[in-house]
Symmetry: C2
Subunit: 355 residues, 2 copies
Amino acid sequence: MSQRPTLADVASAAGVSVSTASLAFSGAGPIADATRQRVLDAAAELGYSGPNPLGRQLRSGRSGIVGVVVGDALRRSFRDPVSVQLLDGLVDTIGPLGLGVLLIPGPTSPGGPAVDPLVEAAAMDVAVMLWGGTLDDPTLEALARRGIPVVVVEGHELSGVVTVGIDDRGGVAELAAHLRDLGHRRVATVTLPFGPERQGGLADLARREQIAWSIPRRRLEGLLDAGVEPVGVYEAPASLVEHGSAAARALLSGPPETRPTAVVAQSDMLAAGVVLGARELGLRVPEDVSVAGFDGLDLPWLAPDTLTTVVQPIAEKGATVGRVIQAVLAGEHPADDVLPVSLRVGTTTTAAPGA
Amino acid sequence: MSQRPTLADVASAAGVSVSTASLAFSGAGPIADATRQRVLDAAAELGYSGPNPLGRQLRSGRSGIVGVVVGDALRRSFRDPVSVQLLDGLVDTIGPLGLGVLLIPGPTSPGGPAVDPLVEAAAMDVAVMLWGGTLDDPTLEALARRGIPVVVVEGHELSGVVTVGIDDRGGVAELAAHLRDLGHRRVATVTLPFGPERQGGLADLARREQIAWSIPRRRLEGLLDAGVEPVGVYEAPASLVEHGSAAARALLSGPPETRPTAVVAQSDMLAAGVVLGARELGLRVPEDVSVAGFDGLDLPWLAPDTLTTVVQPIAEKGATVGRVIQAVLAGEHPADDVLPVSLRVGTTTTAAPGA
DNA sequence: ATGAAAGCGCTAACAA
DNA sequence: TTGTTAGCGCTTTCAT
């Protein structure tokens, strides 16, 4: 037998029909113990290691694959602990369902194709978009054209897709109120990138009107909800420590009279960068400037400090996405889901200087 | 048409045969421009978005899937920037080949099944094992049984699988020689986990003999190659900052006369933790204790310090794995590959105190 | 340049 | 409980 053996080979070796042999492996039907054993023995004899998934998939119309479109190049996405933990929660949930995760890079370079070839051609039963795109996202269009159901994490609430998100706007509002109560009147903010162009730098009012991605917009709105009009808005090109430090240099270099007394960053990585950047400027955290973040990450290298932050249930978000996927594959139409967040006060915020 | 249209539907709508319609999409054969256009028009009309990958895969016997077995739970693996960057390089290389990465969790809990169900049943053309297992790895066995070719990253050199690795032993030897030349005589080391049990803590000579995983073993041997017999060996349960700090507390708490003057960590994350832990103990780095790492990561949160480290070409390693995969799928038998590393001296090492 | 026909490996009605 | 039959959607000889 030069070829790999097939179920037909096993069946004939065991002296049964293919369908019976199939039952021996799937268990999806009545079969005598002795018969099954005979089939399994024949399989072992022939070195047959179970039904070929390709045949099974074509027959069942299911690939068992969940395509996960990460928001960007893997390198960038996975430097963000939030994406990683979410993915982890997702895998934990759908693994036992027999589903696997296919990694699909998001649109990477402006020059390249608008969508990854995998989006157009890979087998998948459902797709998950991390950092869900905008309404006219070409990836979304391609998936819709293929008839692949989509679950969007933290994106716009679109028709035809299920969204799983968090109450980040409310969380930031709570955080802003906390700072306000501490006497802070000059609050600056460091945001996640506004859109795919990832411009970076201080943003004026005009640019603030054009925030394409929903996360930075909602979190900025949270500030305003609490009546905190930021005295400076810095757009980070990515959620990385170094961009937080750069933001600190841009926002905190002025004289004490006009310098912000608090900085709200839209992620913990950025907040940590702000802390480090502020210290490089010779400022004490939190005595001279309070710093707060978002996510609730565990950042051991910031020890002994712990960030004041809005804690989001990342792994649970992943698990929720997993459950939504399960429902979608069962033909249901699950509702959008918004998970709660909570404020956690650490060592990086205190009363405003002179307050 | 309640069902999704198939190629047959498109063909009949265009008034051609299925085989011709197939050619219109694949381009693998002669076809008149006008005919192709007619087929594509019919497809657009019907909302047909290209050949169903499941049918194509069964027919061709290829799934276009590369299964990547990460060494552990995703959460842990992906907290390690090395895994992430490697994966990034891999995806960049195989993406243009039309291949996608299926994430497969490694054995996670001792209680659970020995291998992830995806290893047994998922469609894949080739598998990559990060942190390649030991000789009797059940994952390796399962893949062999299924006849799936395996590429192992940084593992034992086994027969039947292709290995891609780096000259870590030589790199550590070079690093050790550097420290020796700086006058260091009492050198301690912090290793990666010895094996799946991830015991953690100070390791005596007996335990050192039982290092199951090849990376910690080779890097430890590198020290010995340079004539540096470590005065203390601390096994970290994972390559995380906090374990490096714990190692520092365990190794550097003694009096100056016996305290190690240098610590070699087997990863940059661990080294960074050692730096932070040493500072918490009131020690200056590098004046009181020199610290070196391995990997060559960019750690902005350690600024203004930069680690002395052995730089490995991580992304290139991923790209190499990608090329090896390509060769394997082409039916070739590529040779094992060992990539070079280089010593990079940063600000965390200097002459031994009193030397 | 196009069409007819076979079959990749499997599962699921249905019949026995 | 087992066998027969059909067909999932596609690609690919081989004829025409």
